[in-house]
Symmetry: C2
Subunit: 419 residues, 2 copies
């Protein structure tokens, strides 16, 4: 009988694993709760009105259209029966629950989500950018904040609508802060009562620098670029409260300050998908502080060479890897190759570098050990993101939108969906 | 003091009125509940995964960006004080309510919405296509129905998921039925357990023909084109119940039949915006059966030459006009010219014709009195819809998507947002 491979999760790791198996003599089943693959590095452009959801989200079925041995199932995985080798799937679109799906080889890649450091009540006031839903929610809030400022006559209230707080200055937070500041400039000619370019964008970061994972002098360059766009980095500062009308922060010296701000964006800590602890329990293991499962150097579960766990939800024993897209993608490819060869070999990450864009012709990064900033980094960022988008049509459309934005600073995707 | 013109409604009539006033020496305020202008004739392409919402919805502020004397306000108009010349606006984005906005000249263009013939409970099971929200809701349901069929093992249940009922065979219903049938063909190579091209699409119409407003022999040609796509027109048939799992219909002879069908689309009767009855009450007039207000031949309210009412929500005394986009657009232009000239003159509709597309290279229409069908009608439909889209960028992107669809039959915008 043909080997049955079940892949759980249609993110970078899962999709790359499935694509890697396109010529393999196996039966593949890909399970995800959503019908699309989200190109998450561009979600912040959906949140700031540059791109539409459909331009960064490709249907999973379309991706595996030509892989006739690959089946897609929409549903939520709620359990693993490692002894009998079954995955338990709930919430299928026809209402079915508790469906037991057999496998010979299992690949689990549930990814990560933002964690609010034990303050789940902040989630309602500060959406995140890992999900398409969060990105669309943020777009609604950001655009409505400008609308509210336009109709508000009380000066203090107006200032609160025009204050945007971004929590966390990793690549996503930096990109988001830069984009909100640029959005204020874009919108300026469209508003009559307020000067949207005067919007305050505060970027809160607990450590001493933005983009802490980047080598010197890139964090300082990024800070300068952010300031030139009108963003105020607040370093060595932590958030102690978010309530929808204000954000309370605490400086390194312990001094607290409450900032009236109607809009907040969460781009701080992440936690692994609950699938990590589900798998950990199944083998009697523990997850780490970030909720991640520790896997063997070959990316398999200890004692279970037939079970791979990949991407943001795992840490690889003996390796220090960031939770970034290239790691997940390479792990997906590695798992596919291991399955095809019927061998288990250690995974080695090939670090090609990292880029973060800040705004129009502003970016920093390290590519193959070379530190870059400004135009070169920005052009590279653009090229790489277009290249990694799935689908020629989406590439063409995103390129069209970016070309227009480059010349006009316009943002063509500014529909407020809510209300 | 400069004349203050308040325009209520950012649809075809309202936006054309505002654009018509771009060189006028007046102050314009445009009020709408949503921040975008929806190109409603293409909403069905959003519902069937061909276009993204942002490609058919342009921010109102972007449209009037260069009209420095034009202000946009997001809010819901809940009253008119014709005596003191004020509009009452509720639900502003900053939470303000009951804001009184003064005007010298008022233009009201609230449009229409679908009416469920007194069965509002059907709305939950059969969304409509007048609103972007309805179109996105329909897309989710249609795509999820195919997904459910794929995981369903019971044959009868699967057939119900693969049965789509479209109620009403005017242009929107015909377009929608054709597109669902084509979607089934597009999806076929992406599904493994079901043959999506075998989906049943039933087009229910109370009269004897589809596209009843078109001259002979176009309705019969349209029917033949629909059948060739796999749509089953059920003519002289009315809907008596819709409950989410089935649709009950009644034939002309009174025979009733319950059809198991999970997905229904409402494209039947329309009713005027509640703004029509609000205005009618203000002058002590009545609305007609379709909820429309009757206006003078110059489009003003009887006894109120300073108040225009336009578009789908009005009937013009002595004129028989359809509730179609060109009528609304020309009325908007007429109101703008009347305001600029300070004169009130009768409105005359210039009927350039009407087109309805059925699917790939399938369409019918009348253009300047000439009856067309097939490729010519389809190409004209395409050209006109691209030309009337607002914004060069959107035109380019929609054209890109359509070019891809033409060659690949693909549909690039198939994100399921709900769940």
């Amino acid at each position: 009988m043909t080997e049955r491979v079940v892949v759980v999760g249609g993110g970078f790791a899962g999709v790359l694993a499935v694509r890697g198996l396109r010529r393999a003599d196996v039966e593949v089943t890909l399970i995800d709760r959503q019908n699309f693959y989200l190109f998450q590095p561009l979600a912040y452009q959906v949140a700031t009105g540059s791109l539409s959801a459909e331009e960064v989200a490709v249907p999973l079925r379309q991706i595996v259209r030509r892989q006739k041995h690959t089946q897609v199932i929409l549903g939520e995985v709620t359990g693993f029966d490692l002894a009998t080798r079954h995955v338990i799937v709930d919430h299928l679109p026809n209402g079915a629950r508790g469906v037991r799906l057999p496998y010979d080889t299992l690949v689990v890649a549930g990814g990560s989500r933002y964690s609010y450091f034990g303050h789940d009540e902040w989630a309602a006031h500060a959406p995140e950018l890992k999900s398409l839903e969060g990105a669309i929610n943020l777009r609604d809030r950001i655009l409505l904040a400008f609308e509210a400022a336009e109709t508000e006559t009380d000066e203090a209230a107006r200032d609160a609508w025009l204050t945007f707080v971004v929590v966390g200055a990793g690549p996503t937070g930096v990109e988001m802060a830069g984009q909100i500041a640029e959005l204020g400039h874009t919108l300026r000619p469209e508003y009559r009562s307020v000067d949207t370019s005067k919007a305050r964008v505060l970027l809160i970061e607990a450590t001493e620098h933005v983009l802490g994972a980047f080598p010197d002098p890139l964090p300082r360059k990024a800070e300068a670029q952010l300031v030139s766009l009108g963003v105020t980095p607040m370093l060595s500062t932590t958030v102690v409260d978010i309530d929808g009308t204000s954000v309370e922060v605490q400086a390194a010296d312990g001094a607290r300050k409450r900032i009236p701000a109607r809009t907040a964006v969460w781009a701080a800590g992440v936690t692994a998908s609950p699938l990590a602890s589900l798998l950990a329990k199944a083998v009697g293991a523990e997850t780490d502080r970030a909720g991640r499962l520790t896997v063997e150097p070959d990316l398999t579960l200890p004692g279970h060479p037939e079970v791979f766990a990949l991407g943001d939800m795992v840490s690889v024993r003996g390796q220090q890897l960031h939770g970034v897209a290239p790691v997940a993608m390479q792990q997906g490819g590695h798992a596919a190759r291991s399955i095809m060869r019927g061998k288990r070999e250690p995974f080695h990450y090939r670090d090609k570098g990292e880029l973060a864009t800040i705004g129009h012709v502003r970016a920093v990064g390290v590519v193959k050990g070379v530190k870059l900033s400004g135009f070169v980094a920005w052009a590279l960022w653009l090229g790489i993101h277009i290249a990694y988008l799935i689908g020629f049509q989406n590439r063409l459309i995103v390129l069209t939108r970016w070309t227009f934005s480059y010349f006009t600073r316009g943002r063509g995707a500014r529909v407020i969906h809510g209300s």
